[in-house]
Structure formats: structure tokens, C-alpha cells
Assembly symmetry: C2
Homo-oligomer: 168 residues x 2
Amino acid sequence: MTISMHSASAPVFGRMLGNLLAWLDKAEAHATARKFDGANYLGLRLAPDMLPFTRQIQIASDAAKGCMARLAGQELPSWEDNEASVADLRARIQKTIDYVRNFEPAQIDGSEGREITIPRRSGEPLKLTGEAFLKHYALPNFFFHMTTAYALLRHAGVDLGKADYLGR
Amino acid sequence: MTISMHSASAPVFGRMLGNLLAWLDKAEAHATARKFDGANYLGLRLAPDMLPFTRQIQIASDAAKGCMARLAGQELPSWEDNEASVADLRARIQKTIDYVRNFEPAQIDGSEGREITIPRRSGEPLKLTGEAFLKHYALPNFFFHMTTAYALLRHAGVDLGKADYLGR
């Protein structure tokens, strides 16, 4: 038995993004209880030179949709990064879940050896096999932005724990 | 083609833990330049009710070694959590890398359907297949603690960027 490229990607993104929607439920409940505008979360940063909450979610979304598109050999979907409220972020997350779940296994399976080219701001583009791209680039990057979003909410006092992160 | 349970686990843990050693190089250089004791990093927390830097690294180590042992059907190695310096943390990380890399693919491959039982503080133990355990529990948990360790160093002013996180 082996695991497939589809099973190692789409369900991981889909489940974690579903967890993120539940973190936002708790974030909004916290904002309501403390009587502040949930939009205050959007600009939070862990350090002044780190990206704010909204960007963490947009980039997690991009990591998930970009991974699926690249593995399937499709054009990368370009979505406007214009979310300005928790409701907008929810819509972006749900749109990402729907996009990811819409891929059939047959579109993704067999992409282990596909050459993936990632443009870089400086120097040569990065070239990876589909398998290396998924394991060493797309998933680590996705989890980076998910965990940073989680940390920002924890830092803001939202009642989250590891069970919320993992989603059980 | 498909990816194997071994290729989806050991190289991911090994590479990221190697990246973590490089983050510690930068952390120590930062401490030297700013003339503070590198051990000051060990107690840093992102929030007063989050675990400190040392625990983030110990738990990332436990996530990696526990995943490999569980998938191989071996007893979980129990290591003392007694690290008290950056040098101790380095040794713990290197020991984890060596442990993870020591598994042969044949010990891990085919563990997709193995029943994995995870004790929980409250309630029934969690039962998962090897594949679900790796994708939805072990890897997310590992990346959680790696990213939190990274965020603590970033927060402390260490000159790290996404390239250090991903390791290229």
C-alpha cells in the first residue's frame, strides 16, 4: 500500500482550513464577549516585520490552491487579496476549501515526478519534483501560515488549544 | 507512482529539524552580537499560557520520533526533557534527526493501515490509521511546534525569513 499525491494534499488542506473556520468562530465569540470589533484581528502581527493576520490567511489559501493547481498542471488561480473583515476571511477560506475539494484524485495522482517551477524574487526559479514540492515546500509553507494565524489568535487571548488546531 | 509512508515522513522531519539547527546558529549569532546569554531564548513564550521555546523543541522532537516509532510498531523512545542550554537543544535535535534517519523504508512502508492508538488526557484514546495519523496528526503537530519555535526567534529579533524556515 502507498499513499497518493491527492490523499497527501487535498484532505490535509481541506481539514486544516475547516479547523481555521472554527478558530474564527472562537475569535468572534471572544470579540463579542470583550466588546471589540472582530476586524481588529486583521492587522495583528507577531512582530512589526511579520505579515498581519489577514495576509497569513491569504497566503495559507494561496499555498493550498497553488499546490493543487501546480500538481494538476493547471494555471494558478489568481484571487484578489481584498479581505477586510472576518466575514471576508471566512468567504476566502470557504472558497479555498471548495477549490481544493473540487480536484478529482485522478487530476493529482501521478504528479510525483511532475516538474514544478516556482518563480523566486531573486535568482533562478526553483525547480522541484511534484513530490518534493508537496512535502518540502507546499505543506511546510501552508502549516507555517496556519500556525502563525493560530498564534496570533492565541496571543490575542482567544480560547484555543491544540485540539482546535488539530481539529478533533 | 505513489509516495510511500517512509518518504512522506522521515525526510520531512529530518529536513525541517536540520533547518531548526540553522535557526539556532542565527539565534546564537544574534545573542553574541547583542551580548546576551543564548539561554535566555529557552524560556520565551508567545503568550503566558503557551509553552516556552524549550518545550516547543522537545515536543517537535517527540512528534517526529513518536511518529516514526508508532508507524514502525516500535515502543516509543522516552527521552528525558532536561535541556538547559542552546547546546543541549542542539544535541536533542541532532539525536532526533539521527533517530528518524535510522529507519529503513521497509520498517515504515506499508503502515498506512496500521492502527495507531494515541492516549489522551481525557476520554477514550484516539484511534487512527497510520495514514490518517501521519497526515492529520503527526505532521500538523510537528509543524505547529516548529513554526512556534520559529515565531519565538523572530519575535526575539533573530534575522530569520521564509527561506530559513523552508531551508533553501
